[in-house]
């Protein structure tokens, strides 16, 4: 799964720490999601999309390999 978290975070001029605080998670979680090391649950994905005011499907994008 691809994600545009970093792009939208930087667009909103938020630091990882600020976004983490707004979503109620650790900075390490944001780092891991941005790097693609961790795929968040639907709950956290929705929280992040609410915080960034972006549609969830724009933030997290399914790739062809995800269907296999």
């Amino acid at each position: 799964m691809k994600n545009n978290l970093r792009y939208y975070r930087e667009e909103k001029k938020l630091t990882q720490e600020e976004l983490a605080k707004m979503a109620g998670v650790s900075r390490q979680s944001i780092i891991s999601i941005e790097k693609g090391h961790y795929i968040p649950t639907s709950l956290l994905a929705l929280k992040l999309s609410v915080v960034l005011k972006i549609k969830t499907e724009d933030l997290f994008i399914l790739e062809t390999k995800d269907w296999k």
Binding site: S26, Q28, S29, Y38, L43, K65
Partner: protein, 136 residues
């Protein structure tokens, strides 16, 4: 679901307990402290059992302490570490049961438990730092 974990400060308490028990054991051996050596020689088995219990209590505190920010990623790291540690433990037991590969060092359950605790901590922080990735 409410998580039944210890407060984050228990991580430091656990580290302090482990270090303290290691320092005492090291000092007793290296510096020939009469008082400690007397206790050890008086009832060596009892002393080593207490030492091990204290040592593993420290590890237990570290394992059960919650993170400063307890979120789903902390759960993920914890579960990944438990899973890998459990599997490596099973592999170690299987390998140890093969006569040619029989390693006398892990015959003792305390040694085995110690290795497992260290493995858990390594895998937990490796997952947290992104060294172990989520692969679908």
């Amino acid at each position: 679901m409410k998580k039944r974990l210890l407060p984050p400060v228990f991580k430091m308490v656990g580290i302090a307990i482990i270090l303290l028990s290691l320092i005492i054991l090291f000092l007793a051996r290296a510096l020939n402290i009469v008082f400690i050596r007397d206790i050890i020689s008086h009832d060596k088995e009892l002393f080593s059992q207490i030492g091990r219990s204290v040592f593993f209590t420290g590890f237990l505190f570290i394992l059960l302490a919650r993170e400063k920010v307890e979120d789903e990623f902390a759960d993920f790291c914890r579960l990944t570490a438990f899973r890998i540690t459990f599997v490596t433990g099973l592999i170690a037991v299987i390998l140890n049961s093969i006569p040619i590969l029989n390693n006398k060092n892990i015959d003792n359950s305390y040694h085995f438990l110690l290795i497992e605790c260290i493995f858990y901590i390594i895998f937990f922080y490796a997952t947290k730092k992104g060294l172990i990735r989520y692969e679908k």
